[in-house]
Symmetry: C2
Subunit: 191 residues, 2 copies
């Protein structure tokens, strides 16, 4: 998606060779006009796939998921990060390792909101090692629901998550795939 | 807002006399068609006030804030709850007591995203004792920006936050104001 790549080039801040800050428009300040174009693009890519629900994870996936859901006319469910060791019986839960924060979270969704007949599109802002996405897919499988695929804004294609999940048969659509980046040379996208 | 009140009566779950769970449509599963009507209603109430930015707090305010921002054609900034004691110099920070979780959070916003010329509408899902809203107003004041007001989905009007903030001169617009509630008698709204 050229508009998103341009915006990353313009407003993304690279730290070292693997941290990309997109706080200015994606995950702290959020450019809603851009989100509208992103949602429309996800609709183009997953149109006709029978998506009836969008699943994301708090916090930075929520905005993009909600704007995208307007195009699919479906509800959004967001998985919650829980630091309590008490997981109640009425939730599906999985463990997700955050490499950014060096922590492992329990990630939970109420059983009331995922059903076997659901066809679910997962939306998130970033894909790097794939831990969050794997966790969300796991929650969907626990519910006996169908993973339609994942719509990702920015994939760090130099990290293994995307290819690993594609090899497992998941459809992963990333709007901007970063091949490499550095403070000196900037960002190179795939293709 | 009659549509929201109806939905609370239909799908809200009351626990005791002061907990209202609206997980089914507002803050775990999110009904985006309803959010569209909520955003439109906030536009009606704050139209012509020069709002150029919306501020909310993670996680459950983000979806409503983003859908509302489509009507105002402005960006959203969400304040982050931080549990680390390291507050960096490039953020505004304040402390917010969560009565639900019995914790005090540091709540932060990057200085880059709040400016003295901003006219800011705060959006959140709930208003009860007013601690979150007070914290967000504090962040706005630290930036020297203007608080236009707050758009709240559900106000527990039997708790003191709303009236306290109104007495301080803030414009607080709540779409559903709960006068009282109990498992036996259900919910009574203000007017």
């Amino acid at each position: 998606m050229e508009l998103l790549k341009q915006r990353i080039r313009q407003d993304g801040v690279i730290k070292g060779t693997d941290v990309l800050k997109v706080d200015r428009f994606l995950n702290h300040q959020m450019d809603i006009d851009l989100f509208d174009r992103i949602g429309e693009e996800f609709l183009c890519r997953f149109h006709g796939c029978g998506v009836n629900k969008i699943l994301t994870i708090e916090a930075s996936g929520i905005g993009i998921a909600c704007i995208t859901a307007r195009f699919f006319h479906c509800p959004v469910v967001f998985a919650k990060k829980s630091q309590s060791s008490n997981i109640s019986a009425d939730v599906y839960s999985t463990k997700v390792r955050s490499f950014t924060h060096g922590k492992t979270y329990d990630v939970v969704v109420s059983k009331e909101y995922l059903h076997p007949e659901d066809r679910i599109l997962v939306i998130d802002d970033f894909l790097a090692n794939g831990a969050a996405l794997e966790g969300l897919f796991d929650l969907i499988h626990q519910a006996g629901a169908q993973v339609v695929g994942a719509g990702i804004c920015i994939e760090k294609a130099f990290q293994p998550g995307g290819d690993l999940l594609r090899k497992q048969g998941y459809r992963i659509e990333s709007l901007a795939r970063i091949k490499s980046m550095s403070e000196e040379k900037g960002i190179e996208f795939v293709d």
